[in-house]
């Protein structure tokens, strides 16, 4: 759905771009996590400076980065850092990637609203999701979930190339792999939707995709640590243990229209818009 909307925005922007010859067009592509915000920025910026048109497309962090490497976009959005291999590939193509943190995303764990669980430790999550983890049923955690007669924990995850998957794996499982047999959804909103409809399910995704039909238990790094519920505020002050930076990459130091646009994104207006979409801003900012 996001991608469809994205391409419509691109089409309409491209159509506008054709009318005024003096307009500068910025191509912006990448992470599906960031695509909603990126579109919000592009639409908002069209009012701020009509001489610059930003075309936003999703497709995933990897897609954006490879487009930057090929030189077909001005800004690549990514929910993960560029890998060393990608950076050297870019260098060979004469592209010098310049990294910029534009915000933070709290990764929330979702369960069905009927599930009585209130908190999870990292160790519990690792036992549920990790390859040699021993927990396969809710009763092993001392939880009985109404509506989940089979007692089986239905693990909902993401496809293995998504930035969200990689970050969750690094944060919770470290070097270990995911247990096979999880339902691997193609997008964050699909994860939330499946958890909404499945009492036995547990899933994870960016906080921005949460709906009122899922419950978000608090997370703690160990048994003694504070249990922190996911929220934008908790991501801003870094008390929430699984918050990840979101990046934009440009080829070399941003210049001209791209620089103006990125400066605006990091300014108060851009950062407040990011916060209103459910992400944590890159720096402290006072929004109305």
């Amino acid at each position: 759905m996001n991608r469809i909307v994205g391409s419509l925005v691109v089409l309409s922007l491209a159509a506008c771009g054709g009318e005024g010859g003096s307009r500068a067009l910025i191509q912006n592509k990448g992470s599906d996590t960031l695509v909603n915000v990126a579109q919000g920025w592009a639409e908002e910026y069209a009012q701020v400076d009509p001489s610059i048109v930003v075309a936003v497309t999703g497709g995933g962090s990897g897609t954006g980065i490879s487009a930057l490497i090929n030189g077909s976009v001005d800004i690549a959005n990514s929910s993960r850092e560029m890998k060393p291999g990608e950076i050297s590939l870019a260098r060979n193509n004469g592209v010098t990637p310049k990294q910029m943190v534009v915000g933070y995303d709290a990764l929330a764990v979702f369960i069905h609203p009927d599930n009585p669980a209130e908190s999870f430790t990292f160790a519990q999550l690792a036992a549920i999701y990790g390859e040699d983890g021993s927990v396969d049923s809710w009763s092993q955690l001392g939880i009985s979930v109404p509506g989940c007669d089979s007692d089986e924990i239905v693990r909902v995850s993401r496809q293995n190339s998504s930035g969200t998957y990689v970050y969750f794996k690094e944060a919770i499982l470290g070097e270990r792999d995911f247990k096979l047999g999880s339902r691997d959804m193609a997008g964050s909103s699909e994860v939330v939707e499946l958890v909404e409809n499945t009492p036995c399910a547990i899933g994870y995704s960016g906080l921005a995709y949460a709906t009122e039909h899922v419950k978000m238990p608090c997370l703690s790094t160990d048994d003694e640590g504070d249990c922190v519920a996911p929220s934008v505020a908790a991501a801003i002050d870094f008390s929430y243990p699984v918050a990840r930076p979101l990046f934009m990459y440009t080829n070399g130091e941003p210049q001209g229209a791209v620089k103006k646009y990125l400066d605006w994104i990091l300014g108060d207006e851009g950062q407040c818009l990011l916060q209103s979409k459910g992400y944590a801003p890159a720096r402290e900012v006072a929004c109305s």
Binding site: Q159, S161, D184
Partner: protein, 323 residues
């Protein structure tokens, strides 16, 4: 009939023999604008005619070029076909076992055929042998309409309607499984199979039916003892093309299977299909990486399977032609 209507056929028949060679001679002499148009159209039609071959080879070369590096370097044939562990992004131990994916695709396609074969052959027999006049034409149009429903719509039906139905009826935790995808895929493949099967039934000469009826056979006996045996190769081809469709279908399967790496031991297990794996992972994979090339290796495997199925179907149909 008006006088002009009467005169038209006679007119054509008298003019045709001498005018056609006359025009050809004229064109060869002058090589005017028309001659070039003629040649250009010939070229376009020729390119159109062989385009399928060009595309097939183009795709095959592209897929092979992207995947072949992996086939020679990191590829472990035994692991590929026996291990269920598809873990291309593991930091410690990346493995490329496709056994669960192959079984996932096979189980969904198998169930889809169990759903689709009775539906499509039944529909083809009814449309081809029993329905007449307007009801027959309406049915044919509707079947073709059914074939035109985009697969993402089918996937959506699987994800939203079928999912909750299966959860409610069978009391399983998640309704995204082999059963869901098999039913969806069966309904998707049925219209195409119906159309091909109906063509096969129509290819049976009417003289067969007339001969059978002359011997006192009932309508049903004609169909069961004469038409079906006579068209069995064509029907077989329809089923095989349905299997090919099942193997290649992506979007609906991605949405309805649950997309979970799992060797299924019941129809209520979530599985993951080969095509869905490529669709879900390729977009975010670094171009040229081992994972990227491994996905293309899956593509080569799929290409070979569907090619073999379609080839078999074609050979089976040829079998009817010889008789």
């Amino acid at each position: 009939m008006t006088p002009t209507d009467m005169s038209r056929p006679a007119d054509i028949s008298t003019r045709q023999p001498d005018s056609a060679p006359h025009r050809a001679r004229d064109d060869a002499d002058r090589r005017g604008f028309d001659w070039y148009v003629d040649k250009a159209v010939q070229l376009i039609v020729f390119v159109g005619g062989i385009s399928a071959i060009i595309f097939i080879f183009g795709i095959f070369i592209f897929v092979t070029r992207e995947g072949v590096g992996f086939l020679f370097e990191g590829f472990d044939l035994v692991e590929f076909f026996t291990s269920p562990r598809w873990m291309p992004t593991s930091s410690s131990n990346p493995t490329y076992g496709a056994a669960a994916l192959i079984l996932g695709t096979a189980s969904v396609t198998g169930l889809a055929m169990i759903v689709a074969v009775p539906f499509s052959l039944g529909a083809a027999v009814y449309i081809g042998e029993f329905a007449t006049g307007r009801s027959r034409e309406t049915l044919k149009v509707l079947v073709e309409l059914l074939a035109a429903i985009p697969s993402v719509v089918w996937g959506f039906i699987g994800l939203s309607i079928m999912n909750s139905l299966i959860v409610r009826i069978f009391d399983v935790p998640v309704g995204l499984n082999v059963l869901n995808a098999g039913i969806i895929l069966g309904l998707m493949a049925a219209p195409i199979m119906t159309t091909i099967a109906e063509d096969a039934l129509r290819a049976v000469p009417d003289t067969y039916r007339e001969a059978a009826e002359a011997m006192g056979a009932t309508r049903w006996q004609v169909v069961w003892r004469v038409v079906l045996p006579a068209s069995k190769n064509g029907l077989m081809a329809a089923v095989l093309l349905g299997v090919g469709r099942g193997f290649g279908e992506t979007m609906a399967v991605l949405m309805a299977t649950g997309h979970s790496i799992n060797i299924p031991d019941s129809i209520f297990d979530s599985v993951r299909a080969l095509t869905a794996t490529i669709a879900a992972e390729l977009g975010e994979t670094a171009v040229g990486s081992e994972h990227y090339r491994a996905l293309f290796t899956l593509g080569i495997f799929l290409f070979i399977i569907t090619f073999l199925i379609n080839l078999t179907a074609d050979l089976v149909v040829r079998g009817t032609g010889d008789r």
